[in-house]
Structure formats: structure tokens, C-alpha cells
């Protein structure tokens, strides 16, 4: 039964993921669910879009994720004058070797933090999105593979729209998940306030998982067993969104696939080698909401997020769980 995840590997993966969680909890206080979902996104081999106000720990989250894993980390601050080559890298003529030499951009890292992605021009955005899709960069007809594992953690501010270029729907689809960060609880915030350090560079975390472990776990997540009725459940949720009048369009095929992959990864994070409907339910919010747009206008972006989430929850509750 090599199709399925072996029990021993599952348990060792669970132990490794527990270590990661504990490690990240040292810097991200009171956000266990966000941490878990970030790890799920990593295992599913997807990219993450964190949407929230500045200063709630988005960067810290991405940084601690990278640090916990013995991986390279780079950060790109997106601005309106950022060029695609600033992201991908550029070929420069080298006097010594008498030819163009490719100077890799910041995207050549395992965890790439794309801060305020909606501030960049669409051209720059699409340069990044191409990398996200193919894990490759083509410069001057030469393909360069970015690091493996490769995960982009993009952030954007949903409220402040002044001078931004909102990501089009087709590009939103490239992100596996969109997560709101949210304010921490009072106790947790007090804990944060007590901490002496301010910048994320000061975060001192030891890697607890090797890069190869991560790659292995990503492969393992793909082998988590999904029973027929659970697949059917996913399909029913996806088709239900397509007939829901509230939405302009339903979930795409890629969206359904993403939901399955995310559910598999979550099952692995929870130490299971099979998916249960609860995985699907839990993942439907982060995986599906950013792929849905409302048919009607709303007062602001936060209002839209809330309405979409409520409609989706309604759908998920209405679809019967496989007996």
C-alpha cells in the first residue's frame, strides 16, 4: 500500500511539526491557529496571503517560519516603483568573464516575504506570481529554479487602498490560503509588551526542522488518504458555491483541488494519515474565501470579507457530512 502515508512517517512528521509549532509560538503569541494554518500551507506547497493591518505580526510570522526550518528567508518590500527585476534578479555584464551573469534577486530564497504586495505595479506583481506558479524564473531565455521548498508569504492591507493595485482575481487564485492575522488576546499582548525586542531581526530561533524534512513532509502530505465520501464532500461544497446567488462566480476547479490538498496537509499536521470531514470544514474558510467575490457591492473590503465568510460557512453547514 505504498499509495498511502506510512504510519511511522506520519508520526515522525507529527513530532517534527509539533516542534515547529512550539518554536513559532515563542515569537507569535496567542495565534496558534494562524501558526497551524501557516504550517498547513507550507506542507501543502502553497503560498500564503496574510491580510491585516500593519503591525500585527505578519512579518514576524513569516520570519519565524523560515527560522524554524533551517531555510533561507528574504523580504521584499513592495512599492509602486519596484521593478520586476528587483524581485527576480538581473543579468549584469561581468567584465572578468566577459559575459552576462545572472544576479539572483530576493525571490531566490525558501521563504519569501512579499510585504504589501498590492502596492507594486501589476507588472511587478505578475513577475512574482509567475515565480509562485512555476517555482522558476526565466531571465534572458534562461530558467533559474528558486529554492525548494519555496513559499511566498505575501501581505496586504485591506483597508488602506490609497495608491494600490489590488490583485486581480486570477492572481488571487495562485495563493493557497488567505489568512487574517487579527489582534492577539489581551494576555498574549501583555506578554508581547513585556518582550524587550522590537525588530524581527532580533528574533533568535533555532531551526528545529531541516529543509529535507520539510520536502519529505510535503511529499507525505500528498499521500494522505482521502476517502471517496470525503472527496464527494469536497465536491459538494465546491458545487454549492457555484449555485450560490450571493457570489459572482463559484470556486474554480483549482480551488477545489486546493481545498483537498489543504485538507490533506491539515490531516498530516494533526497526525492523521487520512482526511476527515472536519479537515475540509476547517480549511474551507482560508482556502476558499479569497477565491469568491460577492455579486453585490459592499461598503468596504472588511465588510466583503465578513459577508463572504458568512455565506461560505452557511454553505458548509448546509452540505451534509458523509455518514
Amino acid at each position: 500500500m505504498s499509495d498511502f502515508a506510512p504510519a511511522a512517517e506520519v508520526s515522525s512528521a507529527r513530532a517534527a511539526l509539533e516542534r515547529m509549532k512550539t518554536n513559532m509560538r515563542q515569537t507569535i503569541k496567542g495565534k496558534d491557529d494562524v501558526i497551524e494554518q501557516t504550517i498547513v500551507c507550507l506542507l501543502a506547497g502553497g503560498h500564503l496571503l496574510i491580510e491585516d493591518l500593519p503591525g500585527v505580526g505578519k512579518t514576524t510570522l513569516a520570519y519565524s517560519l523560515a527560522r524554524s526550518m533551517d531555510c533561507t528567508f528574504s523580504r521584499i518590500q513592495f512599492t509602486s516603483d519596484l521593478l520586476p527585476t528587483d524581485v527576480t534578479g538581473v543579468s549584469i555584464y561581468d567584465e572578468h568573464v566577459k559575459e552576462f551573469v545572472f544576479k539572483p534577486g530576493p525571490v531566490f530564497a525558501n521563504i519569501v516575504l512579499a510585504d504589501e504586495i498590492n502596492r507594486a505595479t501589476p507588472k511587478t506583481q505578475s513577475a512574482l506570481l509567475e515565480v509562485m506558479d512555476r517555482s522558476k524564473i526565466t531571465v534572458d531565455g534562461e530558467a533559474h529554479t528558486v529554492g525548494l521548498p519555496f513559499m511566498v508569504v505575501a501581505t496586504q492591507n485591506p483597508v488602506d487602498y490609497e495608491g494600490t493595485f489590488p490583485l486581480p482575481e486570477s492572481q488571487m487564485d495562485r495563493f493557497l490560503m488567505r489568512l487574517p492575522m487579527g489582534y492577539p488576546q489581551a494576555d498574549d499582548e501583555l506578554e508581547i509588551l513585556r518582550a524587550p525586542r522590537l525588530s524581527y531581526d532580533a528574533i533568535a530561533l533555532n531551526p528545529v526542522v531541516t529543509r529535507s524534512d520539510v520536502l519529505k513532509m510535503q511529499a507525505l502530505a500528498g499521500h494522505v488518504f482521502v476517502e471517496e465520501s470525503v472527496l464527494d464532500y469536497v465536491l459538494k461544497i465546491v458545487t454549492a458555491t457555484r449555485t450560490e446567488a450571493e457570489f459572482k462566480a463559484g470556486i474554480s476547479v483549482r480551488g477545489g483541488l486546493s481545498l483537498r490538498v489543504a485538507a490533506q496537509a491539515r490531516a498530516l499536521v494533526r497526525g492523521r494519515d487520512f482526511v476527515i470531514p472536519e479537515d475540509v470544514q476547517e480549511m474551507s474558510g482560508p482556502v476558499l474565501t479569497h477565491r469568491l467575490t460577492l455579486a453585490r457591492q459592499t461598503s468596504d473590503a472588511l465588510e466583503e470579507r465578513r459577508t463572504v465568510l458568512a455565506a461560505l460557512r452557511h454553505i458548509v453547514a448546509a452540505v451534509p457530512v458523509p455518514e
Binding site: E227, I276, P277, E323
Partner: protein
Amino acid sequence: MSTESKRPQLSLDELRLLKWLLGGALALVSLWTVFFLDVEALSLVSLASLAVVAVLIWPQLPARVPGFVRWLSVPALIAVLVGDFYLSPETLPPLIRLAILLVLYRGVGYRQRREDLQLIVLGLFLIVVAGVLTVALGFAFLLLLFTACALVFLFVVTLIETKETGGGTADSLPATGAPAWTRLGWRRFFGRLAEVADWRLLAFAGSLFAVVVVLSGVLFLIIPRFEIATGFFLDRYITKKSRTGFTETIRFGDVAELISDETTALRVDFSDPAARPGNPYWRLVVLDEYSREGFKISAAAKAELLRSQRVTAYLRGRRTGSRAAGVGGQWTFYVEPGVSRFLPLPGNFEMLRLRELLPLQSSVSRLVVALRTEPMTMTAYRLEGVQLAGEIADVPPARPPTGRAAAAGRSETSALPQSLQLPAGADNREALQRVVAEIRGGEDGATGLPAEEFARRACAWLSRRHAYALSVTLPSGDKDDIVRWVESNQPGFCEYFAAAFTVLARAAGYPARVVAGFHGGTWNAVGNYYQIKNSDAHAWSEIHTGRGTWLRVDPTPGGGLADSRAAVQTAMARQGDRSWSARLDSLRIMWYRRVVSFDQRTQTEMAEQLKSLTADSGQAVRAFLDRMMARLRAWLAGPWNWARAGRVAGGTVLAGAFVWLIWRGREEIRWRWSRLCQRGRVDPVRREAGRWLARIGHRIVPAERQAVHAGIVTDLQRLRYGPRSSWPEPGAVFRRARREGGAGRCTATGR
């Protein structure tokens, strides 16, 4: 219902206690029915009753029974059953003992819905067996009690189920410890029961039950006591007066028309179907008195019948001369009600046997047997030593009782005098004589022509002159009806032909009479019996041969004289009836054959046969087992050598390997089997696991049980959603889940 009018209701636990009480009562009632049976189980019943009463009084008792007893009880039951069947020569007593044990087993343990229903079915089995084998008044009382108990019991079971689905906890049994409801206490429970009882409703329900019982009792009493055989088919009560069929008199109206009545009048069953007659005439009655209206039973015949009347269950017949050949076997007649009080007879017989004592009349001179009144129910009788003959003996009528006979001063020697009576009036006689002369064809003198020859010629003459038709219109005139018909060319039916022949024969000087009855019938090849319909009603004549016998003459076209060679004809030329209606009708004869018995002896014989059959089967099984054991012993005692030991070892290893393979692949086999049985549906293990998950998956459990609970839930989830290769043993998981469910319920309700 508004809240203020809502009555106090029993809680779920109180309902469960009520169910316990009713179940115990049910078990007791069904156990006590065994007292009516003659089965060696009285001590067993007493013990079982004591046990049931004990657990009724102390409901916590079953929980104190050690676990291993419960584990052992099923194998012990099987062992007892096998042993009982082996040792007992009969089948029924072990079955009853088994039912008692099962009632005990179910009666003393905590039950869920399924077990409750099992208890009812087991009780019903005992009740039905006792009811079939014995019919006693006390038993009827127990039956009523059982019915009432079962009704309320089922009602409470339904109530509990409704409450459980409506938010209560499921009544799953705990692995150990008594359920919470056993701790309620009887005094408190009865207090609550009195508190919540809606006395008006109870009184209404009770009186409804009583009314139904009384009504059924009254119905039972007012329904006339016919035999069950006749009570079975409802069409027995439909009056047959409007239909045509057999009649006791023959009258000739101006217009007569026969309507074919296809209903069955008579069925005749043969103990030896090969000896069935080919062309039977079923005599009912002899009409020998002529009046202007037609033929009827003579006063002398009536007087003879009345004189001979006695209440009896059998009638000895009379053998005629050596010419009549007897037909073997017994002929059983089933005469439908409303046909006639006269019993159809195919000929002479040695013995007529009735099922019960009845007022029976008989006229030996006319060979007529009658009941006093026309029976309203099916009449069954049996003939032995039947003599099929075209001729029946002319015997003098039975002597009237001494004294009266002398007073009457009559000295009848035969039925002849009535058989020469002719239509009155010269013109009638002249007309008849003319015809007689024509028939005789010149040969003079009545003595010159034998009766047979005259009959043959008369039949031929009638056939030439008259056609057969069901509807007749007589020509007008002053002469008697029958004379007018003879002289005319009108067609007619059997009664006309028979009557015409009779008057012609009488005019020629031969004593003759009309006989009414049935002719022919259909051989039902499905049920192997004769089925005679009302439309087979017939009339024919008998002419005195002058040699002390009456010869049957059927003057209707197609009839003819009785052929002495054909008298014992037993083979049927035509095929029997195998149509669907025949199949349907054969069901009735099957029923008759089952329920109609002619004397106590046959019944006892049947019972004996049945008993010996069961005894034989038991003995056969025992003998078989003994034989097998002996062979095994002989085999074991045989000399041992290496080859033999090797063979045995090889066989053992092979068998072991086979069992091991089966055991290893049991899940796979089960899965394949279930896939084979239900394609495309959810795997049964997955479904069961899903059910348990839905029941206990989201339950909040106390902290100390959380780890266990989570483990069970994970296993259940794995069974439900996990890959099959990683499944734990499903049975064990479900057992744990059941225990967990029970424990959860206990903690939920035990507070």
C-alpha cells in the same frame, strides 16, 4: 399543547423502569403458558419464573452477575440445546425448553429495543405453541393478558425511542454496572406512576380493550358452531336457492329454461385414484310418483325414508348379486351446502360413514340415503366397497317397526306398484299406446320384448324425434304436459327425456322410474378428485328388468343404456382438468382432506405418525452421530505408523493454514462480500463507524476519560475515513465504542 395544560410526564428513566416491569410481566405470562402443555419443563418454568420475578423486584441484580457468566451463557445455551435435542426423542419439547431458556435469557438481562422485540417474539412463540396444542379457558385468559401486556410494552418502547431521538441519551448498555434507571426504586416509581397517570385515558383504553374482548367473545358465541372446515370459505353462506341444479321434483311448465350454474356441487375424492369411474352417475333421489305436474318422490318412499330415520354415523349397505363388481378403496364425498338433503351415491356400497352422528334416512328399495334436513354446511361422507353398476338390486323396502306394520296392513314387497303409475285420462293413454306400438315396431305383447331391448328402441325413437335444448316451449293442448311433449317434435332437456321414457315404459308394461342426480363431472388432475358442478345435474330413468334388478337408462341423446361391461370402466378417456380454476379449486379439496376426519382413529393415527416421524428423526440423528463417533474411535484405535502420522500432520497443517488464511483475510473477504452484495454503497464497516462517530464523536467527556475517548474516536475515524490497510480490528473498536457510549450515558444521567 400549551404549557399550562401540559401534564407531568414520566422521565426517560422512569419509562425505562416501566418497560422493565412490562417486559418481566410479558416473560412471566409467556412462561406460564407452558403449564398448559404436557412437556417436561415444569421445574424449568418455575426456576425461570423465579429468576424473572427476582430481577423484576431488584432491577440492579443483572448488573451483579459476573461478566464471565454473561460471556458463557450463549455457548451454554447452545450446548444445552444440542444436548437436549440429542437426548430427547421428540422435537417439540426441546424447542419449548429452548424457548423457555431464551425467554429467561432475555428476561433477566437489560434490554435494548432489539432485545425487547425478541422477548415479544419468543413469548409469542410459546403462546402460539400452547394455543395450538391445547385449548383451555385459563389459556385464553393468559393470552388476553399477554396481548394487553405486549400492546402497552410496545407503546412504552416507542415512547422511549421517541424521547431518545428527541434529545435524550441513547439507552446503550454499559459494559459494567447497573444502568441508572435501576436505582429509581419501586416505591418512588409507583408514586410517580400514580402521579402522572391520566386515569381517564387509562379507563378509556381499558374499557376499549374490554369492549373488543367482549365483542369477540360474543361473536364467537353467536357464530353457529359449524366445523372449521365449513367456516373457512365464506361463499358457503351464499344461498343457492336461486341457482338451478338438482331438484327433487320434475315439473313441466309452459316455458322452462335452464341456466348453467358453474358452481361446484360436489367433490369426490378417491383413496385409489386409478379406480375412479369413467362415466359416473351420481344418484340422489328416485322420483317414482307421477302426477299431472310431473314426477315426484312417492309418498311410500317418503314414508320409508321417515321410518328408517335414525341418528347414526354409519350405514351398512347391501351387496347386489354377483354381476356387480366392487371397486376398491374409499370414496370420500364433499357435498356443498344447499345442494340437497339427499346424498349422491354412485351405486351400491358396503358402508357409508359419516363424520358425526346425524339423523340419517335411507330407502333400501330405491337406494336413496338422505339427511333429515338440507344441510347448511358442507357434508362429508365416505363410501367403502362401492359397486359401480348400471343395475341396482330390486329389494323390498325396509319393514316398518313391528306392530305398526301389522296395523298398517300393508305388505309391500317392492317399489314396483308406484312404478307403473300412468297419466290419467284415456286420451293420454291412447296417445302413449300409439307411441309404444310404434316403438315396438309390430312385435306384440309386452312380454315379447325384453326390457333392455324396449329401452334401446325407446331411446332411439326419442332421439330421432326430439333434439336436446336447454329451453323448451310446450305445444298447447288438453293432454298431460309430458304426453304433449312426446307427441310433438319439440326439443327438450334431460328431465323431459327421462320422464317421457318412463311414461312410455310404464305404458308398455315395464315398471320404470325417474332418477335425479348428477352425471359425469370433471376430473381435477391437479388435486386428483372429481369435481361435479351444479350444471352437471341430470335426470335419467331406471327400468325394471324383470330379473330383480333395475337397469339404468339414460334416454337423453348421448346417454343410452347402462352397459354392463362399462359398469366397471375405470379408465378415463379424456384428459383431466389442469386449468387455473381447477388449481384454485384443488386448494379447497386439500383443505377438506386436512380437516375432515371420519373417526377418532384416523386422527390418532395421524398424530401417531407425526410423533413417530419426529421421534424417528431424533433417533436417526442420534444413530448418525453414534456411527460417526464409532468410526472416529475405530480410526483412532487403528495402528499408527509414520506415513499415517505424516498424513494427519499434513492435513492438520493444511487445515490450520486454511483457517489462518481465512482469518487473516477476513476483513478483505468481508469487504469483498459486502461489495458484491451492495455495489456502490458505503462499506458497512465505514457506515457503522460513521454511526458511532455521530453518536459519541462530539460528546463532552470528563477529563479523566478524555484520553480513552479520544483514542476511540480516532480509531472510529480511521475506520470511517482511513485507508483500509491501516484499519484496526473493527469489532474491537465497536465494542469499545459501545462501552464508551454506555459510560458516557451513565455519567450523563447518573448525576
